[in-house]
Amino acid sequence: MTLRIFLEMGGYGFYVWTAYGVTLLVLLLNILLPVVQRRQLLRQLSLRQKRGQR
């Protein structure tokens, strides 16, 4: 099986790969957003703490 045939998915390539693409995007966002937000929050909190100590 060549890569081209695999990507074509018997003519349903658009539907299959869009479905997998959207899934990947949503799953990634739901992991990355909380991680990024937590890092930001930690940075903010540690800044505030340092200011409080001075």
């Binding site: 695999f6 998915m9 018997g10 003519g11 349903y12 539907y15 299959v16 869009t18 479905a19 997998y20 959207v22 899934t23 949503v26 799953l27 966002l29 739901n30 992991i31 909380p34 991680v35 937000q37 937590r38 929050l41 930690l42 909190l45 540690s46 703490q49 340092k50």
Partner: protein
């Protein structure tokens, strides 16, 4: 609570303490991610490459390997949230509130995936992106329930009061779960009946079934990873002024 042995009770109290849970979630993350990636790789390889094409639907049926696990998870996460809501209301357990609210965006994500992949599957097979049959309509309502929970929690300033309101909303909405599950049997729908969960043997060839089950377990692990990340963020927000967070900041600084 004499029914529950003291050891179990202690275990729950310890695990439910915010600093312990925060650290535990951090330690678990790489293991969970490893297992998830292995399952995902196996499931995708099996589903997209090894599994034969379907006698009716050709290659288009391969959307099943994300559509069905996502749809299962959309119901599973909601049931978990209802359980958390019950615990939060009765025992006023903080961690249950945190897990409840941490689960909502992930459940919404699964529901969204189920709807979008279903649409992308429905267009070539049924001939329509969307139909207002009972299964699809109630699944769309489930998405609004998740979004409602997220926005209600965001709308109330006091986090404990917000958690209580959200718990009640989550419990009320749980009636939709059996309605979605049985919709294809109770009413005539364009959506076909259940393949795996019917009582006699599943009507899917074993070479197609194995990747599907692998993907389903992979999605469970994904949920664990994502919910723990969300829960850590929520815990930090709630406990920003507490001593353990201060200690944590000093350690990392």
């Amino acid at each position: 609570m004499s029914v529950i042995p003291a050891v179990v009770n202690r275990f729950f109290h310890q695990t439910a303490s915010p600093p312990y849970f925060y650290a535990l979630a951090e330690r678990l993350a790489p293991w969970l991610t490893g297992v998830f990636l292995l399952l995902l790789a196996a499931g995708l390889y099996g589903g997209l490459y090894l599994a034969p094409s379907d006698y009716q639907q050709g290659e288009s049926y391969r959307i099943i390997y994300i559509h069905v696990p996502a749809a299962w998870m959309s119901l599973f996460v909601y049931v978990l949230m209802a359980v958390m809501a019950g615990i939060a209301l009765v025992w006023r357990m903080k961690l249950a509130e945190v897990m409840l609210i941490a689960s909502a965006p992930i459940g919404a994500g699964f529901t969204f995936i189920a709807l979008v992949t279903g649409s992308l599957w429905g267009k070539p097979m049924w001939g329509a992106w969307w139909v207002w049959d009972a299964r699809l309509t109630f699944e769309l309502i489930l998405l609004f329930q998740y979004l409602g929970i997220v926005s209600l929690y965001g709308a109330i300033e006091d986090r404990r009061a917000a958690a209580r309101a959200v718990s009640i909303l989550a419990l009320v909405g749980v009636v939709n779960v059996p309605v979605i599950h049985y919709s294809v049997e109770w009413w005539s729908t364009l959506h076909q009946g259940p393949t795996i969960t019917k009582l006699d043997k599943p009507s899917i060839h074993v070479s197609m079934l194995i990747p599907l089950l692998l993907m389903a377990v992979a999605f469970k692990f994904y949920y664990l990873i994502a919910v723990l990340q969300n829960a850590r963020l929520e815990l930090l927000k709630r406990e920003a002024t507490s001593q353990w967070v201060k200690n944590l900041l000093e350690k990392t600084a």
